[in-house]
Symmetry: none
Subunit: 123 residues, 4 copies
DNA sequence: GTGGTCTAGACCACC
DNA sequence: GTGGTCTAGACCACC
């Protein structure tokens, strides 16, 4: 649980599931965990998971086969879109913080470079 | 409440309070809300808020005066440090996502530039 | 209540609300009844009405203003689409019945003409 | 269960049983299911089924033999009448919708032709 | 009063 | 066991 995210749980779950697919935690063609299982894992009601997964279906990232379960799409372009969306979101988060702190694009770029290389050194 | 941040709540609260000071939501010299008030606002136990505020004190971002309450530091360098930390954190988030998606630093920089300008156009 | 419609209630409600808009029972710009009111009128749970109205919103036939209520779109093209869909649906129903009974298109057309004129005489 | 058909359930059941006979779901000479069985299938009270079947008897579409059960008539003309009634009903539904939407008979006929051919292509 | 969210729990079809 | 639907009822923000 995190403080201060006022968006509905179901919308946060949509983001979380998109993220899992975007980063390849769930691979194309994979069966994803059952609704009740995810609800248990995430500590929310199955109905809430259900609502968010319906939206993920609608986004074309998963397909549902009623008795067999729910599967990550094999449609590469849909997944590519999810990856692009994820990258854009984190870029926006950084841009928002940096502008909020009065940084210029140049300063932000330098900072990104710095942290990028720090990451590389960590590994 | 957000899904999937597994760090302890008190640590998340430290981040939240640092953020409020870094972005100027709480200004230097301001009296910040009472522990009980924050606990109510954030929906957590007062003891948890207390623990996180003690850490914020230790970071030099706030000072406590027994009877009068808790105040944001007037020490500019401490606040500057908090701002730098916030910027670094979001930069890290972007860097992590971008490398996770197989992007190069060049691609990440171009994306940042793109989103930066998109923000500007929105305003 | 009618026999033998196995589709979910929420989907039937979507059809019903589209129909009300298509035939002009609810006019462009009109405030439609509150969720709880519709639930009472239709004898179903407010949550079920809520789900169907979210879909009607998604179809662009209504817009929601959180505290003021829900309104029929003023977008003529969206309404035109709803009208076309309604006409197509009833045409399909007739075509399905007619072909199921072994009628030719010519026979169906003649029957339609007959009933059309019978309607006219009734008025 | 469907929304917004305000006719009594028994009358709707008459339509349903006529339809089953008209489309050949129940064939001439067939024994139809027992009252209690139909009541269970349709989720209504056996008395309601009884009332509607009495009407179907009266229409000459079924005959009842006290101990053996209820059978679909072998009278071809009665069945033909049921088929004509079904066709007329759906034709009326289309005509009502089309006139309600301000269409002319010509436009309705063109739409019917269109949907008729679309059906054919689907198969 | 308005729309919206969330939970608990029952139930369904399909296999 | 799987996804899906539906209800009852509590609660929330916004006005």
């Amino acid at each position: 649980m995190q403080i201060d995210d006022s968006r509905p749980i179901w919308a946060q779950l949509v983001d979380e599931f998109r993220r899992r697919i975007a980063v390849g935690h769930w691979h194309p063609g994979d069966k994803i965990p059952a609704v009740r299982e995810l609800a248990l894992e995430l500590g929310v009601n199955p109905n809430t998971v259900q609502k968010s997964l319906a939206e993920v279906d609608r986004l074309g990232l998963t397909t549902t086969e009623r008795t067999a379960g729910r599967f990550v799409t094999q449609d590469v372009s849909a997944i590519r879109a999810a990856r692009a969306a994820l990258a854009a979101t984190t870029a926006d988060g950084f841009a928002a913080a940096a502008t909020g702190l009065g940084m210029s694009l140049d300063e932000a770029t330098r900072l990104l470079e710095q942290r990028w290389n720090a990451r590389k050194d960590d590994q």
